[in-house]
Structure formats: C-alpha cells, structure tokens
C-alpha cells in the first residue's frame, strides 16, 4: 500500500470513529429545533428517564472509546505490512518470527466476564428503581382521567373530569390533548382498530394503544407550551401522518378551556352562510362527525334529537364496521368530534396547521379569535381529503373525498366550522 493510501485509510478510520462521536455530541448540544426530541424533556417522567439514561450514555460512551481505541491501538502497534516481510503477499515466511502463541488466560477471561456483569448489575438496580417509580401517579387535586383512543389515523381524547371512566365523558376532542401544567394526568389508552402508540417525547415515553385492551399511562409537564407527538406503532397506510399535540396550559387557562369545551355548539342563525354550511355538513359529514348540540342521531336517521356522542362511541367501540347505522361507515366507526374545532391548532391528525401563524408561540386560548385560518388547506381537505393525506377511504379507513361539493358548498361548510369555537 502506498504511503498516501495508508494515510487516507488512517484518516478515514479516525474520521469514522471520532466523527460519529462528535456528531452525537453536537446533536445533543443543538437541540433547539426538534419538537419531538427526547433529549430535552420537560415532563416529570421524561426527566426521570433522562436522568436514568444520560449517565448510561456516558458509560456506553466510555466503553465505546475504550474498545475503538483498543482496536486502533492494536492495529497501529501490531500491524505488519505486506512489503515488510518475506516473499509473498499473504503466504508464510519460513524465517518469520512468530508471536507468542497464547491460547488464553482464565483469570483474564473471568475478569472480563465479571466486570461487565457487575457494571450491568449496578445499572439494573437504577433501572428497576426508575421503572417502578414511573408507574406512580403523583396525587393532586385534579381528578381528571383522559381516555386516549387511537384509530386510523388520528387520536381522540375523552375527558372524564371526575375520574370515572365508566360514565360518559364530559369532553370529547381530537388530536390535541389539552392539560394543566404541573399535574400528573392519568391516561387510559385504547384503540378502535389496530395497534397505535401514544408518544409525546418531551413528556414521557410511549405506550401502545392495543385494541381490546386498556393501558394506564401518565403524563405531566412542568412547563406550559405545545409539545408534539407522533404515533409510534406502525398502524398502516398513514402511520407517519398520525400525529398529536399536548397543549399544556396554566391551571387558570385550562379551567377556561375546559368550561368552553363542555358547552355544546350553537345552531347557526337561519339564512346565514354558516346555516347553509350546517345543512351541507348534516348531509355530507354528520354520519361520521359529531358536533355536540347541532348534529344528533336525527341527522343520522335515528329518532332522538339529544346530543349523542357517548351513545355512538359506546355502540361502535368494537371493530364492527357499519354496525350502528346499518350502512358502511369507517372501520373504526368514529371520526373526530368537531364541536370546538376552532380551538385546536391542527387538523387531519395534526398533520396540518389550522392557523397559518400557529407554531408554538401564539397563546392557545386566543387561537379562534386571533389566528389566521389556514383556509386553503381546510377547504382542500374537505374537498378531497385522500389527496391531502394518505387514506384508504375506499376501504372505509380515513375520510373520503367530497368532490361533489361545489365551491359555494365548501365555503358554507367552512363558514359553519368557523362558528365552532
């Protein structure tokens, strides 16, 4: 090997080993613009996990440098280049000095069997302590339990303000989980179709939503803000587009939000655009989407005119497609409740922003008044959702297109939706 090539080889091996390590360090230092990052947790549980794993990352880093350093040192110290010896490139050399033929050393072997064993035993103690501690829910005056329901490809949140999950929920909302700051919020994670996984990286690890099962989980945030999440169990076609947001408000703001959410929507005044939009919505959308107070079983061919959110969810909490209407409906049987759509910052499984200037900065409670509606995206979504986000609407999974709607119809529907704040 020529001198230049040898230099190149050494340079590149050093680059590979130390470059990759340096990259990780840089990545940890520059963690500003990563809304899903696990490296800068703000939740109690997330911080506990980081406190456990960060020292282990350091131990692993030390082992990494020791082993890679040993490889390079052995390489450097004991290499023999082909041109240094004998007559052939690979073959034997009769006059070659052989290294001592060590076959092993039992003491050394036992030593390096025990050393990692002890190290791992220590790590396992801390792991188990954290593992069981993460199961605890800190007591607080907040009794609320949120049932989190995954389905293709969005999340629903059912708020049980009294903590009793066997009664109808007080609030049903979608995609954005709103919660007060500083309080452990117990979650009850479920699925209506396939396995999903609920994950707000800055708050806590993930928990699978498994159909037929109910999994306890808890999240908490020590700061207010909007924290992104992502479904992390592969759940079919639009898995990557199934996102969510945890919105953490001060306790006062949360109370305002909560009281607003409990109220049903108001019927638009007759003769307005919004009323025309309500009519279109009732015919085209209300077989799946509920708006408390203005859509009801009557819109779906039933008799009662009472708001019936809970009844619907009770009826098709199983996978029986179309069971409750006697007609084909979504496999999951449920679409997002839109009662307070305009109070959310995102739509379509949090894939699209509902407001153009949303981001993480505008005050959440002012969204409906202060934001600029992302009208073009919302209209495009109503008109042809499968084009805006992958869906299998023809297999009753995801929102079907409504290309029969005229531009006027869509304007009216958006006008109706704008009243849902």
């Amino acid at each position: 090997m020529s001198r230049n090539l040898k230099g190149l080889v050494w340079l590149s091996s050093l680059l590979v080993v130390f470059g990759s390590a340096a990259l990780i360090v840089v990545a940890i230092l520059v963690d500003d613009h990563h809304p899903l990052s696990t490296l800068s947790p703000v939740g109690r549980q997330g911080k506990d996990i980081a406190a456990l794993i960060n020292p282990i990352f350091i131990v692993a880093g030390v082992v990494f440098f020791l082993v890679q350093g040993a490889v390079l040192a052995l390489w450097w110290r004991y290499r023999v280049s082909g041109s240094d010896t004998g007559d052939g490139e690979f073959g034997y050399y009769d006059d070659e000095e052989f290294p001592t033929q060590t076959h092993g050393n039992n003491k050394v072997e036992i030593g390096w069997t025990l050393a990692p064993t002890v190290l791992l035993a220590v790590i396992s103690v801390f792991t188990l302590i954290t593992l069981f501690a993460l199961d605890d829910v800190e007591a607080s005056d907040e009794e609320m339990v949120v049932t989190v329901v995954g389905q293709q490809w969005w999340w629903e949140y059912q708020y049980h303000l009294d903590g009793n999950t066997s009664t109808p929920p007080d609030i049903v909302t979608a995609n954005e989980l709103v919660m007060p700051v500083g309080v452990d919020i117990p979650l009850d994670i479920k699925s209506r179709d396939v396995i999903h996984s609920f994950w707000i990286p800055k708050l806590n690890g993930k928990r699978d939503a498994v159909p037929g099962r109910s999994h306890d989980w808890v999240i908490q945030s020590e700061e207010t803000g909007r924290f992104r999440g992502q479904c992390t169990e592969f759940c079919g076609l639009a898995h990557g587009y199934m996102k969510m947001v945890a919105v953490v408000l001060t306790k006062e703001d949360f109370a305002v939000w909560r009281d607003n959410q409990i109220a049903p929507a108001e019927m638009p005044t007759e003769g307005t655009e919004a009323h025309a939009g309500w009519q279109v919505f009732s015919q085209q959308c209300a077989s799946c989407h509920v708006v408390n107070g203005v859509t009801s079983a009557a819109n779906r061919g039933g008799e009662s005119t009472e708001p019936d959110t809970w009844a619907i969810y009770q009826e098709h909490s199983s996978n029986d497609a179309g069971a409750y209407l006697g007609q084909d409906t979504l496999v999951a049987g449920a679409a997002p409740n839109l009662t307070h759509l305009m109070t959310r910052g995102t739509f379509a499984g949090s894939w699209y922003d509902l407001y153009l200037d949303a981001g993480n900065h505008i005050p959440y409670l002012d969204l409906a008044d202060g934001g600029t509606l992302n009208r073009g995206e919302l209209e495009a979504w109503i008109y042809n959702a499968p084009e805006r986000k992958p869906a299998a609407a023809n297999e009753l999974r995801g929102m079907p297109a409504r290309t029969s709607l005229s531009p006027q119809d869509i304007d009216n529907v958006v006008a109706f939706m704008s009243t849902l704040d």
Binding site: I49, Q101, V194, P201, G240, Y241
Partner: protein, 697 residues
C-alpha cells in the same frame, strides 16, 4: 451388472480388528419401477439443478443470497430517497410501507440467513473433515425450497402490478394490522406463505447440519477441537431448530385467519393481539442471534489467521456462544416494553436483556486479545473482521441502552432502533459475511479476489455505512419515528436524513465495487491462464485448507485424523530445539491434491428440485387458487415417491468425477487407496476406512 447379495460376515471375525467394521462387499443396487435412473455427471448447467454436493449447494445459496441482497439493497435506496427530504413524495406512503416491509423480510430471510447457510453448507463438512453433509439430497431440497420461498416472496413485488400485492404490515407484521380488514390485498398472504416455505428450508437444513456435526466428524475431531465457526454454526442450527417452529405456528394461524376466517387474531372475536407479538418475538429474538452467530464464527476464523496466533480463550469463545444461544430465549419481550405488559415482566426482561451483553462482550474482548501481540496482516478479510469488532461494539452498546426499559419507552420504534439493528446486522453480520467471501473465495473458486479493489470497497462500504446509520442514532433521539413515510419540515429531521441518504448511495457504490471485483478478478485469473492459488493461500488454520483449491468434489482424498485444535496449522508448524516456531511442512505437501478418483459420492437427484418446486406451487395456490395448489401437491407427492423409490446408488452411475475413473469397479464401495497419493497422505492406520461412502440422504 448383476444384483448380488451382501455377504454375511462370519460373526467370529467381528471385533478381531481395531474397530467394528463390515467387510467390503459389492453394493446392493435395486432399480424399483425400472425407470428414473439418477441423473449423472458434474458438468453443464443441469448438473447444478440436480446436484447434491454440499459445496455446489453452498455456492448456490451464496449466489441466491447475493441476488436477493441486490434486490433488498435497491429497496433500501428507495426508502432513503423517499426520506431524503421532508414531505417526500418519491414513492408515496402505500408503496413506502410495502418497500420497507419487503426490504426487512428480504434482508433477514433471503440475504443474511441464506448467506450464513452458504458458509454452513460449504465449510461445515470441510471443517470437520467430512465428505458431505449427512443427508445430501435433503440438503439440495433445503436450497430449492428456500429459493422457491424467496422467489415467491420477491414475486409479490410485481404480481398484479408493481407493489400492489407486496406485504405492507412490516416484517414484524403485527396483528390486527396484518388482518384482511386492514390489509385487504394479497401482500400479507405472500408473507405468511413465503416465510413458511423458507422456514421449511431452514428447519430441514438445521436438522441436516446438526446430524452432520454430531455424527460425521473426522476421527479425533472431538467437539472441543472443532473450529469456532463450526461451533457457532452448530449453535445457530439449534436456534433455528427451536425457533422456526414458533414462527411457523404463528404464520400458520395468520394464514388461517386471512384465508379462512379463523379469528386467531381478530379482536372483535375476542382475540388478544399480543398473542402474535409474543409468538413473533419468541422466534424473532433468537433469530437475531441466528443472524449474528455465523458472522461471529467467521470473524473467529479470520482474526487468528491474520494475527498468526490461535484464537484467544477458545473455550470461552465457544461457551459464550452457547450462553448467547441459551440466553437468547429469555429476552424476547424486550421488543414489547411498551405493549402493555406489567412492570414485573418488563423488569425481568429488562434485566435479562442487559446481561446478554456479557457473553457478547467476552467475544469482543477475546478477539482483541487474539490481536494483542499478534502479527496483524490487514488483508481484506481482516479489514472486514476488525470492522465487525468495531461496528458490532457500537450496536451492542446501543443495545444495552435500550435494554434499560424506561429509556426504551423513549427509544423503541424510533430511528435509534433502526440505527442499532443496522449496526448489529449490517455492521456485524453482513460485514462478517463479506469478510468470509474474501477469505474463502480462493478455496471455493481457486483464485483470490483482488486485494486493492477489496480494500477500497471495504472502506467505501464502511464509510457509507457509518454515514447512513450513524445519523439515525441522532434522528431517533430527536424523536423521528420508524416506519413513517415522511415527516414535517418543521420537525428538524431534514439534515441528518439527507446525510443518511447520501451515505446509503455510498454503500451502494461499495457493493458495486465488490461485484466489479468479482468480475475483474475472475477475468484476470482467466487471462493469466487460471494459475493455481494453492490449497492454503492465507496460511490459515482450519481443515478446509488441507485440500486443493477449489475443493475437489470429494473434499479429501483420504480420511483425516485430527489430533488437536487447529490441527492443520500444527501439521505445518513445529518447534525447533530452541522452542522457536518453525515451519515443519509446506501446505502443498500436507494438503490433499484431489487426485483420488476412486471416492464414491452420492449420485445427483431430480427429486429435491421437484419437491422444492412443488412446495412453492402449493404456496402460490394457497394465495391465488387452490387448483394451483392441487397441481403443486401432485408434484410434491410425486417427488416424495420418487425420492423414496430412487435407487440409493444407481448401478449405471459413474461414481465420481473426473477422468481416469475405473468404471468397472463401481460396485466396489471400498475402493483401494490410490498409490499416487500415498506420498502426501498422512499414514492412516486403517486404510479400509479411507474412502467410505457417505450416505445418500
């Protein structure tokens, strides 16, 4: 040729010799049905179709695995193109899901496993000094069955339109997303049926190789004189033997669910989807060790050879392999820390997973100790082997970090995991297997691969590999989920994804350079008039180097008697009066030159191919139309009958290869030692046993 009866030995003579031996006598040859003579000859392409020679089967395994590697690699490049930028639209979400699924399935089941099978088939009999595997026809069947399953799986890419019927529920294929309701096209059927077929192949092969190692070792080759590679392959076969039935059950249930509404995984009918997860990972985790242990074995052959030292801590190397083989069964649920198991289960699997790092660490340290104070020659195989030590360490360390169950709830199903298992499976298994290609290429084909191209392609591959999968650690910790078809621009994933995509194309360049090297080296060798590379070009240690290159069809001219570990090396080297190691003999003088033309070998057979083909036809039939399955069944049953009725030794057979064979003595199973070889052959106390025929399967 007349059919003669075997003569009965007078019982009085039994035991008068050193060992119990049946006297030599004419073969019992029958021709049931009077048709279907076994195919003959070892030349021409048809001889490859009907071969039962473990070496040819090994070569075919390797070639098929390389072909599937290119398919799986192309799929990987599409994945990287789709993810290169936010809001990627190169292939779209539906196709993307199919591509990453078939990429995983291809790389695990159709690349790493058969590549390891290539080495197992070719080397295992040679390393233990045997003529062939225990059941040569069964061995051929394993290959054809694997190929049939592989073709079936791969054909899902284009049958019914490109990516219309490709499996799209992930290689882990979690229920109920793999059910008909959520994956209505035929993709998951291909998965369920195809993997059952390749599973049959692996299972049969496992039994075959276990019997081979346990029963057919050369005289004196006790278990603890076997090379580390043989040990690792043996452990791998045991893992396969016990793991494959589990996945087969799971796939069987899945197939019944999808084809005949069996409701094993239907939640609406009361099923618990965690059943699939447990079944899959009880197979799936030992599978990880099935993928990596052969590469560990290969590294354990290469590093001593190029360090000019024996492997450090041989018994610990073997024991740690066995320990991994056992502990590998107690860690499966670490794939399920977030699936809703109770904290006690999580704690148990978390701890057991941590401690599996111990035997793995022992291996790493023993390799380093082997290099310590050695004379290290960095040939291409050595580069790959040291690459495994270095890269696998990274994968092992990230593995420890997600055995920490609480932190795994942050890491699982993110790109951190993708990074981890690519460091294990690419950085560990695949680099090791590539090192094996370079190391044993001269033994298999009779010429070396070019070293300059080999080293260049190694460095390109290694650098590309680190640029592809290194950044994925960062992406995963920054919160990028696995299996997402794209990501939003404001999530901050764009930069490292672009780096990874560029890296993946650098890997592709490295792989193309390997292929060019094969072409270039072959051409150079042909142009140079096919010079003989010699039996032992690397001055290596295993018995496989004690015969001519390429290996003669009958492997060894005479039976080998082994006296210690690394026996071949000890035949080459001794100590002088000063205790200094000196060469005692040249490899050329010790190694068998393949000149013995009188070795009785099993005849080729039509039936393994027909049986393997029949099984894949049944597979297609299950997916598309049961009438095709009926046709496949006809082939299958016909092949079974043909197999059973086939004469063990065709009386018309030319027993062996090559010219100079005396066709008149073909009934003489125990042919006499050939005088010409006596000069190089080890003196053998028992000439009668020299050319014993192997079973014909």
């Amino acid at each position: 040729m007349s059919i003669t009866q075997r003569t009965i030995t007078d019982p009085a003579t039994i035991g008068t010799e050193d060992k119990l031996a049946l006297p030599a006598g004419p073969a019992v040859a029958t021709r049931p049905l009077g048709v279907f003579s076994r195919p003959q000859g070892s030349e021409g392409w048809t001889s490859w179709l009907f071969t039962v020679d473990h070496k040819r089967i090994g070569i075919m395994y390797g070639a098929a695995a390389l072909f599937f590697f290119l398919v799986g690699g192309a799929e990987a490049l599409f994945i990287r193109l789709q993810l290169a930028t936010p809001n990627g639209s190169v292939i779209g979400a539906g196709t993307y899901n199919g591509v990453f699924t078939i990429h995983g399935v291809t790389m695990v089941f159709l690349v790493i496993m058969p590549m390891a099978a290539a080495f197992a088939n070719y080397l295992l009999p040679l390393q233990i000094g045997a003529r062939d595997v225990a059941f040569p026809r069964l061995n051929a069947f394993s290959f054809w069955c694997f190929l049939g399953g592989g073709v079936l799986l791969t054909s899902s890419i284009f049958i019914g339109g490109w990516f219309q019927n490709v499996p799209d529920a992930g290689w882990f294929n979690y229920a109920p997303n793999s059910g008909v309701l959520f994956s209505p096209h035929k993709g998951v059927d291909f998965y369920a049926v195809g993997l059952q077929i390749t599973g049959i192949a692996s299972l049969v092969s496992a039994v075959n190789l276990i019997v081979t190692v346990l029963n057919m070792r050369a005289k004196g080759m006790s278990l603890f004189r076997m090379p580390v590679l043989t040990w690792m392959l043996l452990i791998t076969q045991f893992l396969l033997l016990f793991a494959l039935p589990v996945i087969t059950v799971a796939l069987f249930l899945l197939m019944f669910d999808r084809l005949w509404d069996a409701n094993f995984f239907n939640v609406a009918a009361g099923a618990d989807p965690l059943l699939w997860q447990h079944l899959f990972w009880i197979f799936g985790h030992p599978e990880v060790y099935i993928l990596i242990l052969p590469a560990f074995g290969i590294v354990s052959e290469i590093i001593p050879t190029f360090s000019r030292k024996p492997i450090f801590g041989y018994h610990f190397m073997v024991a740690s392999g066995i320990a991994i083989g056992f502990m590998g069964w107690g860690v499966w649920a670490h794939h399920m820390f977030t699936s809703g198991m109770g904290p006690l289960s999580v704690a148990a699997f978390s701890v057991s997973t941590m401690f599996i790092a111990v035997p793995t660490g022992v291996k790493i340290l023993n390799w380093l100790a082997t290099m310590y104070r050695g004379r290290l020659r960095f040939t291409t195989p050595m580069l790959y082997a040291v690459g495994v030590v270095s890269m696998f360490t990274i994968g092992g360390l990230s593995g420890v970090t997600h055995s920490i169950a609480p932190s795994d709830t942050q890491q699982t199903d993110t790109y951190y995991i993708v990074a981890h298992f690519h460091y294990v499976i690419f950085g560990g298994a695949l680099l090791g297997l590539f090192g094996g290609f370079y190391f044993w290429w001269p033994k298999v084909f009779g010429y070396m691969l070019n070293e300059a191209w080999g080293k260049a392609s190694f460095w390109i591959m290694l650098i590309g590999f680190n640029f592809t999968f290194g950044p994925m650690h960062i992406l995963g910790l920054q919160g990028m989920s696995r299996r997402i078809a794209t990501y939003r621009a404001d999530e901050g994933f764009a930069f490292w994804n672009m780096v990874a995509t560029i890296g993946s194309f650098v890997i592709a360049v490295g792989v193309l350079m390997f292929l060019w090297n094969v072409f270039f080296s072959t051409r150079a060798w042909r142009r140079a008039g096919k010079p003989d590379v010699g039996p032992d070009p690397w001055d290596a240690r295993g018995l496989e180097w004690m015969t001519a290159s390429p290996t003669p069809e009958h492997n060894f001219d005479t039976d080998i008697e082994v006296e210690r570990f690394d026996d071949f090396w000890h035949r080459k080297y001794g100590r002088n009066e000063q205790g200094r190691i000196v060469r005692a003999a040249k490899a050329e003088d010790i190694a068998h030159d393949g000149s013995n033309t009188n070795v009785h070998l099993p005849s080729p057979s039509y039936w393994p191919l027909v049986l393997g083909g029949g099984i894949s036809l049944v597979g297609y039939g299950l997916i598309f139309n049961l009438w095709i399955a009926a046709l496949g069944l006809v082939f299958l049953v016909g092949a079974l009958y043909g197999w059973c009725l086939e004469p063990a030794d065709d009386p018309d057979a030319v027993h062996s290869h090559g010219a100079g064979h005396d066709d008149d003595d073909h009934s003489d199973l125990h042919s006499k030692p050939v005088a010409a070889e006596a000069s190089h052959a080890e003196p053998d106390p028992d000439p009668d046993s020299q050319n014993e025929a192997v079973s014909s399967g």
